[in-house]
Symmetry: C2
Subunit: 168 residues, 2 copies
């Protein structure tokens, strides 16, 4: 984790995890109360592919904004992507991530960054865990009746990773 350090345990938090992407942005909200976590909501924001890119970015901002306000989110955590196949796709991914980050900041939330490795380590105990493994562990840790979609599961994993940090 880089950037701000999480505050010491201060009771209940409603944590928004974000898995940013220009085509699909996953989000997941969990509640963390003194070391115990519970599922609140999850889903994906899928801007219409035919829209101009600026509109797609705006839909990501609006989507994250709506989740924050609807679910009473108190803190945000977002995947910090280092790798992209090429600068062109990195620029697209970066813009999607920027739109999501400012949506959280504009709501006055602290935003914490976690590397993909730290997130996988946090939910599956293994930094190289695969997508299916993360999906499975998110389901188990939150006691869900079914596995969320991979993008929503990745977002919930970010939120769980942040909850773990709060109670180390």
């Amino acid at each position: 984790m880089r950037g701000l350090r999480p505050p010491a345990d201060r009771g209940m938090e409603r944590i928004l995890g974000i898995d940013p992407g220009s085509r699909i942005t996953g989000y997941g909200v969990i509640v963390s109360d003194r070391g115990r976590i519970g599922f609140v909501a999850c889903g994906t924001i899928k801007p219409l592919p035919g829209l101009p890119f600026a509109h797609r970015l705006n839909q990501i901002f609006d989507g994250i904004n709506e989740v924050i306000q609807l679910q009473g989110v108190t803190v945000a955590a977002i995947e910090d992507v280092f790798l992209a196949s090429n600068p062109r796709s990195a620029l697209k991914l970066g813009q999607a991530r920027g739109a999501a980050v400012v949506a959280a900041m504009q709501n006055g939330l602290a935003v914490y960054d976690y590397s993909p490795k730290a997130i996988k380590q946090g939910v599956a105990g293994y930094g190289q865990a695969g997508k299916a493994q993360v999906q499975h562990m998110v389901r188990v840790l939150l006691g869900l009746p079914a596995a969320p979609s991979t993008d929503a599961a990745d977002a919930l994993a970010v939120a769980i990773c942040h909850a773990n940090q709060l109670h180390l």
Copy 2:
């Protein structure tokens, strides 16, 4: 230019040009009235380098938002960067650009993208024009008493490029 097409000439526009960057974001506002352009304002947004990245992105959003509201901007144009030295810097630049784009979109503005080549072509008549040449031509075209900083000049060049498109 990609994305939306500019509307047909509809009289006066106050155009915000943006040259996005994670360290320095240049902005420039011009007025375009039936083919004649005039200078309104320009400057740079320089987030404090020591701040966590999410806060720097938020300062870009707030800065662009302030300029739009203060200067009564009616349309935005932003440099569309294709090239970055590596995926890591592309991710940073992308996030800065995303923050600026959603600030414009949240104000209900249409946002037009112009390639660096189109911008240079638009102000200097030459797609490979250097920074100093762009700076000089922006000064001449807007009748400024002195040349703006390179970042502000690049942003004004984007705005001028959009004004040209309105009156082709």
